[in-house]
Symmetry: C2
Subunit: 131 residues, 2 copies
Amino acid sequence: MNLKHSKQRDSIKEFLEGRKDHPTADMVYMNVRKTFPNISLGTVYRNLTLLADIGEIARIRVGDGVDHFDATTTPHYHFICKECGSVSDFDVPDMISFDEIASADFKGQLEGHTVYFYGKCENCCKTVLSS
Amino acid sequence: MNLKHSKQRDSIKEFLEGRKDHPTADMVYMNVRKTFPNISLGTVYRNLTLLADIGEIARIRVGDGVDHFDATTTPHYHFICKECGSVSDFDVPDMISFDEIASADFKGQLEGHTVYFYGKCENCCKTVLSS
DNA sequence: GTGTTTGCAAACAATTTGCAGAATT
DNA sequence: AATTCTGCAAATTGTTTGCAAACAC
């Protein structure tokens, strides 16, 4: 089960690295298709799953029913706009002790946590008067 | 768009209220079928969505691709076992100031947050030696 | 050459929806 | 009587998989 090189996979990872908006498989497909017009959605899914499995990218499940992907694998939090559905990074200072506080009297084994902040993003706040 | 009474809906809500394990639509279906053998999965989905929309139950998206439902609508956190997939309530003391700390210099509008703790549940920790 | 990766299409799983009839008000 | 709700089946959406050919090592 050794990895072999593939231009398609490179292109997918490269695309993700150039974005900070956590694209879905479909967005990746749409964009990588500009470079590889014949790439199939199946290949995109396979590679996203593969890259996520080996830890080169992160799969984030925001709760909108679609998987999003992120080239940044270091732990950080996300903000989801209820209006436009956009997913952005959300910086929270001093949140590291979270697990320790929480696991105080937990009888299982706590491995980590995921936090999603939600509300209305900066852009959607501006656009209140339109429509 | 006025609500009308329905035995099926009552039964669904009643079932949820008697559980603390956050069942999926399918689990609800399986169980409510004991009382209403002819109920359809579509009806279960429709009522779960309706109840969630009017705020009588909560839909929780754990990230396993299946929606879970909870009769407890007051905000609380959840723990997801990576081993068996079970979803349980997770009590964390003093976590209220979370949003305020976080929203310090956020330019959008923060409405709330969701936290999922994950790891191995008490039960799965015990069962290490079997298999 | 062996084994991985691809494109394509078919398969899948979870959920939603259209419709005619049944139930509630 | 008017309207909502139900059961059923078909449709949709997001994702996975089987296969033969193409590609990487």
